[in-house]
Every structure is written in C-alpha cells, then in structure tokens.
C-alpha cells in the first residue's frame, strides 16, 4: 500500500494540471468562436495573417 503515497499525489497533480490548462484556455478566449477554430485548421500556413 506504500505505493499509494506516490500515486495519490501524482493523480492529484495531474488532475490539477489539466484543470489549470483548461482555465487558461477559457481565459484566452479559445471558446469564443468554435466553428471558426474548426475551419481555421484548413487554412495553409502562408494563408495566415
């Protein structure tokens, strides 16, 4: 059961890393134009402004 001492903190850290990454995506307005972002992947790099 000693392995838990390592595993539980790891799972908590990974979970909070995911949460922080998600909060960053919300803050940087990445959900404001979902259909636009879906379409932008089709633009070639030289098309980009």
């Amino acid at each position: 059961m000693n392995v838990l001492v390592v595993l539980i903190p790891i799972s908590l850290i990974l979970g909070s890393a995911g949460l922080i990454a998600f909060i960053w995506t919300v803050r940087s307005q990445q959900y404001d134009d979902d259909s636009g972002n879906a379409a932008r992947i089709l633009l070639d790099e030289e098309d980009r402004v």
Partner: protein, 705 residues
Amino acid sequence: MMSGCPACAAAPLAQETAQGPALQFSVPGVTCAACIGKIERGLSHLNGVATVRVNLSMKRLSVAGQVDPEAIQTAVAAMGYEIYPLDVARLEATRDAQGRALLLRMAVAGFAMMNVMLLSVAIWSGADGATRDMFHMISAMIALPTVAYAAQPFFTSAMTALRAGRLNMDVPISLAILLASGMSLFESLSGGEHAYFDAALSLTFFLLIGRYLDHRTRTTARSAARELAALEVQTATRINGAHSETVPAADLRMGDIVLVPTGARVPVDGVLLSTAALMDRSILTGESAAISLDAGATLQAGEVNLTAPLRLRSLCDGTDTSLRRMAALVETAENARNSYTALADRAAQIYAPAVHGLALVAFAGWWFATGDLRFAINVATAVLIITCPCALGLAVPAVSTAAVSRLFSLGYLVRHATALERLAEVSHVMCDKTGTLTRPFVNLPDDLSATDRQIAKALAQSSNHPLSRAIVTALADTPAAELTEVREVPGNGVMGYYGDVIVRLGRGSWIGAATPGLCLSIGDAPPCPLEVPEVVRPGVESAIAALDLPCEIVTGDAALPAERLAACLSVPFISGASPQDKLDRLQELSDAGERVLMIGDGLNDTAVLAAAHASIAPSTALEASRNAADVVVLKDSFEDLPLVLHIARATRRLSQQNFAIAALYNAIAIPIALAGIATPLMAALAMSVSSLTVLLNAQRMRWVK
C-alpha cells in the same frame, strides 16, 4: 496543442493590446475557412490595420488599429461580401462574463469528479479499513471546496426561490448536494462504509452542463438580436439656423427642424416643411404604392423618404414618437407572453414537491421502523441523490440547444426562450403581404435594347423609389449609361439627358404614354411600358404549399394586389386591414381555439406579432416588429419555414421522450433507494447512464427533416 498553433494563441492577446477599441462589422456571408483566409489576408495589407480577426460563429469581423472604417468596408465589399458596420457602443458587454463563470465552474466540477471517481473505484473494488477511510478523507478534501465553488448557481437560485416562498428545480438539487456532502463527511469521519462524494460532484457536473447549454442558447439569441439593433443607426440631422448637426434621434425636441436625407427613415413624427415629398409607408401601413405629400402633411417616424432631401418640424420629442410608443406596447405584450409556463417549469412544479415528499417519507419510515437515525438519514440522502433531476435538468436544455443552433445555421434566429414550445403548438398561420411575402419587382421586356437597359439603370440608380431599386436589382449585370442633368420629379419619376436626348422613367401619365403604369421613354420614341408585378419572396410558394396548417393573408394593401398573390398561393385573404382589423381577426381565431402563428414585418403588424401565440419576422422588419417576434429570419428566402415548425415539434417530442427516459430510470431506481439497499456505485452508474442517454437522444435533432 499549446504550441501547435502560435497564431491562434497569439491573436486574441494581440487584439486586446492593440491601439484603441476594435471596429466591429457584421459579415453575414462568411461560411468557411476560405472566406476567413480571404478576408483576413486581404485586410492585413490595408494601411494601419494592426489585427484583423473573423469570428465565424457570430459572422463578425473585428479590426483593430488606426484605420478608416470606410476603407475596410470598401475592401471587404470588393471581395464580394456584404458588410455592415456595427455600433460598438450598442454591442457593449459582448464579453460573456456569466457564461465564462459557468464554464469554469463546470470544468472545476468535472476535474474534481474525475479525481474523486478514481478514488471511489478503488473503494468499490474492495478497499476497506484504514485505506477506505483515507480515500474517503481525500475525496472530502477535493469535493467540499469544489461543491462550495461550483454549485453556487444552484444555491443562489434555490435561495431566491425559497425567499419568494416557491419551490423550483434548484431546491431539491441544492438539498441533495448539501445533504450528500454533509452526510458523506460525517460517514467518513466516523469510518462509515458509504460516502456519496462522487455522486454530489457528478450531480453538480451534469447539471452545470445543462445550465451552460441553456445559457449559451440564450446569449446567442441575445447577441444576435443586439447585432440587429446595432445595424440601425439612430441619428438625425438637426438644423440650427445656418448650420446642421448630427444628434441621436432620442435627443430631438418638439419644434426642432430636422433634415431627412434621400433614402433615410424619418426619425421623429412631424410636419412636412418642404413643398413636396414622396414617402414609402409600406412598413407602417402595408400599402405597396408610394405616397406623395405636400407641405403641411404629417409624417410619421419610420417612413422612408424616397426623393429629394426634405425638412420637417418635429411634433414631439425623439423619445415619444409613435414608433417608440408602439415599441412600448410590444414590451407590455411581451410580459404577458412571459407568463407562458415552459415545459421544464411545469415538470419542476410536479417534481420538486414529489421528491421532497418521497425523501421525507423514506426518512420517517426507516427511522420509525428501525429507530436508527443515521441509517434513516442515509436512505433519505440516497433517495434525494437518485431521484435528483440530473436527466431532468439536462432533458430540455440539451434538446433546445440542439434545435436553436440547427435553426441558427439555417438562418433563423430564435429570440424567445419558450418560442419553440409555442411554435410547436401552432394550428393556424396568418401572413402579412407587403415586405413579408412579396417584394417589388420590375419586368423588363425582352426586346429592350442594350442601350435602353443601360439608360434605364442609370435613371433608376438616382432614385430610392422601391421600383427604381427593383430595376437596379433586375439590371445588376448591366453597366449604367452616362447621363447628364438627372433629376427626380417627386411623385412622377426621374428624368435626364443621354447625350442631347431627353430620357424619362416614371408614371405613364407624366411621360404621356397610353398606360398609367411605369414607363421608360427615350427621346421621341413611343414610351415603353414596364410591367411591375409584385414578386413573391423566394421560397414562399413552396413553403406555403408544404405547410400542413391552414394559412391566410391579412394585409393593409388594396384588394387587387392581395387577390393576385392569394390566387397565386391559393390561400384565402383579407385586404385593406387596419392594425386593429388584424388584431380583431387574431382575436376571432383565438376565440375559435386556434393557436395563431403571425408572420409579418411592418409596424401595422407589430401589435399582432406581439399578441399572437408565436410570431416570425424577416430581418428587414422595423426594430419594433423584430422585438415583438419570436423568430427572426436572417436570410432572404422563406423556403425553410415548414422545417422551422418541424424542428419546433421535434423539440417538444424529444423533450417529452427525455422526460420519459428520466421517469423510467426513476421508476427503477426509487424502489431500490427506498428499500435502503442503494450503494454509491449504483447511484453513480444510474446517474451517468441516464444523463448520457438524454444527451444522445437530444442529438437526434440533427436529422430532423
């Protein structure tokens, strides 16, 4: 993902730091990646443009930097896209703070749920003793702060309802979340076997999904409606002695002298000071013919000046025009409409008391039977969690979000929360004619020579009369001829010189032709009569034919054009109807038990649009009429009208199916919970499965035909 696309990540930040507020434009024509690329690439070369960003979801373009808005409009129009400037002040608060807060709460609940679920799986797999207690305590450490943060929207809503002495869906939700957390904390501290932390969190998570979907549906409609309002520029030109100034229409005072440019709407009720004027009143009265007026005639706000710029003396303040009063009337009617109880609220009215009663019975029953207070509370908690409306909270928002976004992509903007439910109940359709079903159109004879066509276009271009505009549309591909001394004779037509030949376009009687209708005359040649049928808006014929409901036309226009259209669409009609007549007709139908759908655009329709069971208006309608309508058609064609009704009915059907799924799941789970044999694993499984089922069922909306 974070570094894969530096441009995406950098763009929003760059926009915020750019100089000055970004200019906003509405570009309804953007549909794909190619459009985005073309516009963004094209504009980035313009002088002074710092950043340019197309938002495809909102079909909006924002440009930051020191740049002239006119230059941007010209550039985008040259690329072949319609573009309209938006009034940034009216769009204020487009940043959706509430939606973001909901999204964050949802994310926190989701991540916490995943972590607690990991720990719970270990417990369900047989962890016991000290390990189980430790896992319970770690779960508590994650769950309690999460619940305190993420479930706040439910707590506040429940508190508001309780203060007002009512029960809403959030009361049992809050109670279940609080009881589950509190009871589980007590069980964990005292080394108990069952803790419901994962249930409390997944409840919060699933319900926040429903809340977020609901919120998004509403804000899309609200921001699009705000955009329509921002398109209408509400300024007026006031004349002060020798100079003129531009002021907001609301700042006009009684007695002000106002200049109305050609093609503009009259901003305030007033008396005509210029000697003559030709006005388009179709949006106010439904009459398709233009009206000529002499000095001293009364003008109403909302009319369009078709000829030379005119002056008027205002008869009231800019805030008190007949148009505004009509808008205020609409608001009153709206409030009446708000008393319509949505399906979800009706369900909650039955559901909330039933759940509370059931939990109370379970608690009292087990306490009385066993005398074990702790076990009785446990059973009551399990009942509350299991019956808790996870699926019920998602059932309606998931379906209506799918329906509203499907309709938005078809060009229909749903403005009102209960609009779809009311549309599904419609049993009779009432249509306005002018501006709604028809548009003016001019039929040019096939044998008209190319030069004549060019002259006709040049003459038509210099006038704002609806028929002139129709000629310009009909001759879109023809270049205009070079004319000199073009001038408009109010009420009669346009004249000018082609070389040294006099050319005229206008009333037959003015030109000297045998027919009274619209004629084109070139020099001494016999005048050429032009047919002016009112053409039906694209898609109307097929839409009316496909409607499975009785339909009728009620118009303020004269009998002849109404009869012609009615015959063409083979529907009954009432002509020459005043706004009051329209309302009376609506009342008559409602008294006969019909639920009426009104489709109209003019000010004369506004009262009916507001009073009808459901209403649809085209985006060309006046702001007051658009505000009164439940659904605004953003595109030109009415072709998809039957589909709107089908989608509305499918919304009702799928919502009811979702309620049935939730009820079925409750019918199985409640007896188990009441029997006191429910475990946290069973609660978690049943909750997830039922929520996913209703979400998936809602997606069937995509295939509604």
